[in-house]
């Protein structure tokens, strides 16, 4: 296993392109080292991106934030401005593993590992985050939901890597939230999850929304119909207490549950996940609404 520490993104891309056999990017290593340990054939080349200065920083850009692909989630939690603008995304990154794991784990790694249960991804999809991809010749920007194509698979081509994730500028009266259900209270993998981002007008009416579901399909599901059900309302539909208990489910919650395509596994049955993802989406919408200043 050859280990390289390039100092520019282009150099990293060139190393990947020139590799004869399998090559892997190393960010925080919290997935990669576990995979190596569990018997994955060591790649011929490992490219550590933590020596590329631009990838190690969180920068303000056009009113939004550019998060370098090597920034650990702990650093996102310590960044005051980021947490204010995008509390849901920071919350989601703060749920990845333990304190120790967060000292290393990156959201770009979470995205590129392409686990359907990755915590930061539904929050980033709801946020409308854009991944900047760098290849040996050029850069391109694509929405994060276009990266994972299925469990463990991405749309990145040979020689390409994620350089940064961009979270756009927030209009006034916006809020986001992320919730997951895990069988334990800490250190577990989501059985279902939901990220919601909203913008309100001066009267508290929702004028923009994005809703993303995690762990209930081979990849994160962006539910446009659910967003439509919120837009134009003050979220009256999802406020009722009865909505928790089955018979009076809100339209929004039903739409989310209907969009889920979960599997049965040790963390939950299909029926359970389908129901829970609707509940989570409803609660996340309410939190996002309050954060946006709605009452």
């Amino acid at each position: 296993m050859r280990y390289e520490t390039p100092e520019t993104a282009k150099a990293a891309a060139k190393l990947l392109l020139g590799a004869k056999g399998p090559a892997k990017i190393l960010a925080g290593g919290t997935d990669l080292l576990v995979q190596l340990r569990s018997g994955m054939k060591p790649p011929g080349l490992v490219v550590d991106i933590k020596h590329i200065p631009a990838m190690c920083a969180i920068k303000k850009e056009r009113g939004g934030f550019r998060i370098g692909a090597a920034v650990p989630s702990a650093e996102m939690g310590e960044h005051a401005g980021l947490g204010k603008a995008w509390p849901g995304v920071v919350e989601a990154a703060g749920l990845i593993g333990s304190t120790q794991v967060q000292g290393r784990a990156t959201v770009a790694g979470n995205l590129c590992n392409a686990s359907p249960a990755a915590d930061s991804v539904p929050a980033m999809v709801a946020a409308g985050a854009v991944a900047r991809i760098v290849g040996p010749r050029k850069r391109r920007d694509i929405p994060v939901e276009k990266i994972a194509t299925g469990p463990g698979k991405t749309s990145l081509k040979k020689g390409e890597l994620v350089e940064s994730i961009f979270l756009p500028k927030r209009p006034p009266r916006s809020g986001d939230a992320y919730l997951r259900f895990i069988p334990r209270t800490e250190m577990d993998i989501a059985a279902a999850s939901a990220g919601v981002s909203l913008t309100l007008d001066r009267k508290g009416v929702c004028i923009d929304a994005r809703v993303a579901l995690g762990a209930v399909g081979p990849r994160v599901i962006l539910v446009k119909r659910a967003a439509k059900a919120l837009i134009g309302t003050r979220l009256e539909d999802v406020m009722g207490v009865l909505a928790e208990f089955g018979d009076a489910l809100s339209d929004y919650q039903n739409i989310c549950a209907a969009a889920a395509r979960p599997i049965d596994d040790k963390r939950g049955t299909k029926e359970f996940r389908t129901h829970v993802v609707g509940v989570l989406a409803r609660r996340a919408a309410l939190i996002a609404y309050q954060r946006a200043g709605g009452k």
Partner: protein, 158 residues
């Protein structure tokens, strides 16, 4: 096998070590540097027994490659006491009987020290969440949590 010479700093001392590119920092510490205070519980990031500080951040050394330590600063449990003088956390762990078999203890100590460096007055739930990545099969955690809270209290009044 590709061996690489790595220059790093461990507990303030400059160290040169030859290691394979696929060896973890945990293996380098234990097998190459004979620093066996850092323990291996799982090797997959779940138990925290291998906790060390890397450039001031708490990490699992089983999830770091040895070669990644090049040019960086590593702090381990061996650097915690000053000679014979125990760190207050170590002293309190003894007083509270916060250890039995002791395999988890170095990890808990390193992790708890990192917590008190960023938060000198943690609540019980903050201690429990911070240490959620450190597993103990013996104590039931309560004595560990008491020891950490008690240390924080003493260190604040010191």
């Amino acid at each position: 096998m590709s061996s690489v010479a790595v220059s790093t700093t461990v507990n303030g001392d400059a160290v040169e070590v030859l290691c394979d590119t696929d060896e973890t920092l945990l293996d380098v510490l234990r097998d190459r540097l004979d620093m066996t205070g850092t323990k291996e519980g799982c090797g997959t990031g779940d138990c925290g027994a291998c906790s060390v500080m890397l450039d001031g951040r708490l990490v699992c050394s089983c999830l770091v490659l040895g070669v990644e330590a090049e040019g960086r600063e590593v702090e381990t449990i061996e650097g915690m006491a000053e000679g014979e003088k125990l760190h207050p956390l170590q002293q309190k762990f003894l007083e509270h009987a916060a250890l039995q078999c002791g395999v988890c203890t170095p990890g808990f100590l390193v992790a708890a020290k990192a917590l008190l460096e960023v938060n000198d007055d943690p609540s019980e739930s903050e201690v429990r969440y911070w240490l959620a990545g450190n597993l103990c099969r013996c104590t039931g955690y309560d004595k560990i949590v008491r020891a950490v809270l008690d240390t924080a209290k003493d260190m604040r009044s010191a």
